[in-house]
């Protein structure tokens, strides 16, 4: 197992995801002789996990069962231990594309935080790229290093414990892209510029507040960045539900329960929403938005360092 490569079977030392049901899952470190408690009972690593195929159904001691999933950066993002606020996959996706990351890219990041974005970046730049990630909090830097080791990606990442605003990224002229998620990104734009390759590259800054964005944009302009563009992306999730709506009784003296015509012609030939007329009700499939959703994560400001 590695976060940068798939494996077929669960091995001792792997980090696997125990999937209990909708949205309910947690990571486990697979170790001979260890047991993990779930609400469906105990999972014995030696007999229940090691040697099994990823994606297998594992029956727990109380008879309930779970699926064991191969870790991916996205599953990790959903399950990792939070040491800070983290970036979620929706933002990570647009960051990865807009920074033009691909295998071989050299990326600088600060701060490392809980390593959510780091894992996704490492996945994308592997096997020939590298991530230089800078974290000013010593324990967090330490913990990140440990996780990268456990996840089999330590050769693709360098964690440095320093303040990027004061000391920069510790590298210069080598990065294709820089990502900033720090309280005062405008103080690090100069360092970002010198970390980027001479021929140019892309930068992204993530900030929750518009005031931060404003100062960052000014700093980017000052340092000669072009194509400065700020955007915001949100995920809208839909629950798939079968809804039944009653047909109102308008008191017509109808001959044949009237609304059949309305039902079949209007709904069932559209393909997906299922419609069944039963006792004056219409059934259909709907994608129902969540009652509450994340309405703001942060503003993403992208820019280009050009050659001139």
């Amino acid at each position: 197992m590695s976060f940068a490569e798939y494996g077929d079977t669960i091995k001792d030392g792997d980090t696997a995801i125990v999937f209990l049901g909708h949205e309910s899952m947690f990571p486990v470190k697979v170790q001979h002789g260890t047991v993990t408690q779930t609400k469906y009972g105990v999972i014995r690593h030696s007999t229940d996990l090691i040697g099994k195929k990823y994606g297998s159904k594992v029956t727990c001691s109380k008879g309930g069962w779970v699926f064991i999933l191969h870790p991916t950066p996205e599953l990790w993002t959903m399950n990792l231990p939070h040491r800070t606020q983290i970036l979620y996959s929706t933002d990570i996706s647009i960051i990865t594309m807009m920074l033009e990351l691909k295998p071989g890219s050299i990326v600088c990041e600060s701060g490392t935080g809980s390593g959510s974005l780091s894992h996704a970046v490492i996945r994308t730049v592997a096997p020939t790229g590298h991530l230089y990630t800078v974290e000013f909090h010593q324990q967090r830097a330490e913990k990140a290093r440990e996780e990268f080791r456990e996840h089999g990606v330590e050769h693709l990442v360098t964690v440095t414990n320093q303040d990027v605003c004061r000391n920069g990224f510790g590298v210069s002229n080598i990065a294709d892209a820089v990502f900033l998620d720090i309280p005062s990104p405008w103080e690090a734009i100069g360092h970002a510029k010198s970390a980027l390759k001479a021929e140019g590259g892309r930068i992204c800054s993530f900030s929750p507040c518009i005031e931060q964005v404003q100062r960052t944009c000014l700093a980017m302009e000052e340092y000669g960045f072009t194509e400065i563009n700020t955007l915001e992306i949100l995920l809208r999730v839909y629950n798939v539900r079968t809804i039944s709506l009653q047909i109102p009784d308008l008191g017509k003296a109808a001959e044949d329960n009237s609304s059949t015509g309305f039902d079949s012609s209007n709904l069932s030939n559209q393909g997906s929403p299922c419609s069944n007329l039963q006792q004056g009700a219409v059934q259909f499939k709907s994608g129902v938005p969540l009652r509450e959703m994340v309405g703001h994560t942060g503003y993403l400001t992208f820019a280009t360092k050009s050659l001139f």
């Binding site: 049901g21 195929k53 991916t72 996205e74 033009e100 563009n229 955007l231 949100l234």
Partner: protein, 484 residues
Amino acid sequence: MEDRQSLVSRIREGDCAVLKRDDVFKAVPVLRRRKIIFEKQWFYLDNAIGHVYGTTFEVTGGGNLQPKQEAEETNKETKEAGTDNRNIVDDGKSQKLTHDDIKALKDKGIKGQEIVQQLIENSTTFRDKTEFAQDKYIKKKKKKYEALITIVKPSTRILSTMYYAREPGKINHLRYDTLAQMLTLGNIRAGNKMIVMETCAGLVLGAVMERMGGYGSIIQMYPGGGPVRAATSCFGFPKVFFDNLHEFPLSKVDSLLSGTFSTETLPSEPEDNVLAEEESNGLTDEKQTSLQETEEESTTEAAMEINRTEEQETMDINAEGVEHKENKEKENKENVREKQRKQWERRKKLLETAALLREKNADGLIVASKFHPTPLLLALLEFVAPSRPFVVYCQYKEPLLECYTKLRERGGVVNLKLSETWLRSYQVLPDRSHPKLTMSGGGGYLLSGITVVLDKGKSDSSNLEALKMEEPSSKRCKVQDLHC
């Protein structure tokens, strides 16, 4: 740092490049003595060859490109500005230069920057405008009169933005941020074995190829006579990227799954299609623009169909032109033998691809097509290994609702999620930051999930998922998946 990979990359003849003016992009092949029309300007790329990617050029007389010098900043004078617009009346008389005057200036070959300066000097209201309004005015005029074009290297970011802005109908209105989600949710990375089924002109395929960097393998499933890769060729990938790109006809999927697959009846396909797109590197540029101009805002399915066939035609023409011209002049005999050889090769490749699929160990499935997603998913998921992600794009939500339900009934998938993203851009200026006036109303929908081992014995799910998420497997009419 002038060594290794950090060598600055220069524009070379034969490259695929992208022209950029403000937020407008256009992909073009770099060819000598070839007239390019972009944003109402025409020019030749000859002078750009040898310059570094990212260089900004000015279009000068005769359609020549001249690298722009770094002589920036027009705001030299001390600024004089009003406080608000109470005294500004729109009487159409504030600009003293007439259309003809401006045209005369242009014809004299006066540079855009100077024209803007003249416009400012001849505006009676400029001084009364607020500082902010002045900025805006200058920006607007600059955009109109300065003929600046930047030549950049193609990338998923640039090409997906370009296609979404110029030809959304060709990519099923797949917005770039939605594509970004697909690449992440699909865990696309070097070394994967991916199955891609798309009818987005090859844009999604190109994006997947970029993310895999030539490592691993891709099987492109295609409808009709051959895979469409017009957008793929815009990426300008090195040849090796195509070594592990395979294609397999959709029309053979069922027989492959049922075990009756044979190569005897290949899909009727225009000659040398596979070869064609390699040759069509020069892309279908002119075709694309002309199409774009005629294309209505809401591209219909029918129009799409036309686009597609036109693309293929271009490929054929290209293939004929480049490949076959000399061949044709030679003896017919050789031609026939050549044909046989190619057909044999094609059959061999098809068998190899079938074998790849039969291993049923793909690391993921990406679908973005104009077809109904349900039959595609139900069939293609068979080729995917357990514990691997899949992502389906559809321009509409309803087919994905049905697809979701069918997948639940089938089992063998977890973490199913139906979603869309919402994207908003901002104007950021000191004291004047706000969301941009317009935004895209929708970028399409995604259904994503993860495969798990499907035990065929039990057809339903027992304790977990079903309870929480799902309504009882419904007694619904089973006619609906005939919709492709």
